[in-house]
């Protein structure tokens, strides 16, 4: 079995060796990057600068929350608001692979800018096994380009350090628990964020809709879990499908987009089953979303696809 304590014992001195001088860590505030930051912090302390980029595609209040977390972990950090930049770069882009590559590229450019100002040559990333497996290369087919692997620009100047490369999420969580990090049980959230939860072009308008819908799905499911109505899914969120359907709101015709609710059970994201959510809970989610989002959304569907053949996220 995977031994988290042994892993930490080996990883810290190895990081000390790998990181000469100062290093920058790409810090999203999820389990992987937080564990990475804690390990590097143990290894080189003040030599580390954590950088969080607000892409504009974060979940509701997420970047604020991350700011607080970086302070509480006593990390030396920089906060970059690049939302305008990201929205501009994704304007008119519909293809999911193009979206992922543009996002990967933008992230690196943000980090390079900080690195240049601070004279840093080394970038630490919380890349885990499914990221590079699904990104493909050589013999392996590309399922999707994870922003931190397949989305990296070729002319990147920073040297990569990825201490979690051979780990899966359940193992990273074990390390997080040993390190006493509060994020250990947090659900995964992809680096490209809500940009890949809006199918097709991720405009500000559609992103605001899916941000609200994701928040509702999270809160309703967490409430149901607390009430003991269901097991906590591995990941649970909303996807905006840019297809309009007809509805009726207060005796008037409505014509709005569709929201798909996705919730899956998994251990490592390499295979998943869709979650068995009761109709009562689905009903609460559906009513809450349609009543909150008014004329923007008038149809909710539940995704009942396993992985394979589906993947967790839709893009």
């Amino acid at each position: 079995m995977f031994d988290a304590e042994k892993f930490i014992e080996k990883a810290v001195p190895k990081l000390r060796e790998e990181i000469q001088g100062r290093a920058l860590i790409a810090f999203s505030g999820g389990v992987d990057s937080t564990v990475c930051a804690a390990l590097v912090n143990q290894a080189v302390g003040d030599q580390l600068i954590a950088v969080h980029v607000d892409t504009g595609y974060m979940r509701k209040n997420e970047s604020e929350h991350v700011k607080k977390m970086m302070s509480s972990m006593r990390l030396n950090f920089r906060f970059v608001d690049a939302s305008k930049d990201f929205y501009d770069a994704l304007k008119g882009v519909e293809d999911p692979e193009k979206k992922r590559k543009i996002i990967g590229n933008k992230f690196i450019r943000c980090f390079e800018k900080v690195a240049k100002d601070e004279k840093i040559k080394c970038l630490v990333q919380g890349t885990i096994a499914p990221d590079w497996i699904e990104s493909g290369g050589e013999l392996r087919d590309t399922i999707k380009s994870h922003h931190n692997v397949g989305g990296l620009p070729e002319d990147m100047e920073l040297r990569l350090v990825e201490p979690l490369r051979d780990l899966y999420k359940d193992e990273v969580r074990k390390v997080a628990r040993v390190l006493g990090l509060s994020v250990s049980e947090r659900q995964p959230f992809p680096g490209p964020g809500l940009a890949i939860r809006v199918i097709g072009e991720a405009t500000l308008e559609k992103t605001e809709i899916v941000r609200e819908a994701c928040d509702i799905v999270e809160k309703e499911i967490e409430r149901a879990v607390e009430k003991g109505l269901m097991e906590r899914p591995w990941q649970y969120f909303a996807v905006l499908i840019p297809i309009k359907t007809v509805g009726v709101h207060g005796d008037k015709r409505a014509y709005g987009y569709t929201i798909a609710v996705r919730a899956v059970q998994s251990v490592d994201a390499m295979t998943c089953k869709y979650s068995d959510i009761s109709h009562e809970v689905l009903d609460d989610i559906s009513t809450k979303i349609t009543n909150t989002l008014g004329d923007k959304i008038n149809r909710i569907v539940y995704d009942i696809t396993n992985k394979p053949p589906g993947t967790v996220e839709w893009e």
Binding site: A129, I133, E138, D166, Y168, M270, C272, N306, P309
Partner: protein, 191 residues
């Protein structure tokens, strides 16, 4: 400590195979399918897992040096998905595109329960699949061990050598007896 290497044919779950073996305290590592048989012998391996991968075995000719391993090995080999299909074709069987490709959850039925690889596995169990092609003709020297509704050759073994082929994926979390099957394979390698 038993030493079993995972030969990487480019599968999405190659690394999962490595992880399952590592969790069973096997001395394991992932090696490219271009590694020579001599190098494997130098490392004194006790067994090999041939991973799955994107190559269409029925349509393409090679899978790195896998044919060399199958020709020369005296130690046990477990072929999974594309690895299984390649093994079948190497020994004279046929591989074709599946009439009904299987993805995700499928019910497996054991046809020969006493085989060591399936010790402790129920006659019917849930396995996870992901294939476009399948073995359609069993090689002469092999016997059939399991089937599913839409794929008649889900598991096979060589009659004289410790070579096994599985169309389904025992390495993934959602295959009910996956770890058990790996444990049995480790036992076979230890013999």
């Amino acid at each position: 400590m038993v030493r079993i290497y995972v030969v990487d044919n480019g599968g999405q779950w190659t690394h999962r195979e490595w992880r399952t073996l590592r969790d069973l305290e096997v001395d394991t590592k992932i090696v490219p399918n271009t590694i020579s048989f001599t190098d494997l012998l130098k490392d004194n391996v006790d067994g090999l897992v041939l991973s799955g991968g994107a190559p269409r075995i029925g349509l393409e000719s090679d899978l790195g040096n896998c044919s060399e391993y199958l020709e020369k090995a005296g130690f046990p080999i477990l072929g999974i998905c594309a690895g299984h299909q390649f093994m079948a074709r190497f020994f004279g069987g046929e591989v074709e595109p599946s009439k009904v490709p299987e993805f995700g959850k499928i019910e497996l039925t054991l046809l020969k329960e006493k085989d060591m690889l399936f010790e402790g596995v129920s006659k019917k169990s849930i396995v996870w699949e992901s294939h476009n092609d399948e073995v359609t003709l069993l090689p002469n020297e092999f016997e059939l061990l399991a089937e599913s509704e839409n794929c008649k050759i889900q598991a096979m073994r060589h009659k004289k050598k410790p070579f096994y082929g599985l169309q389904f994926h025992p390495e993934v979390e959602h295959t009910e007896y996956g770890e058990r099957i790996f444990k049995n394979f480790v036992k076979i390698c230890r013999k």
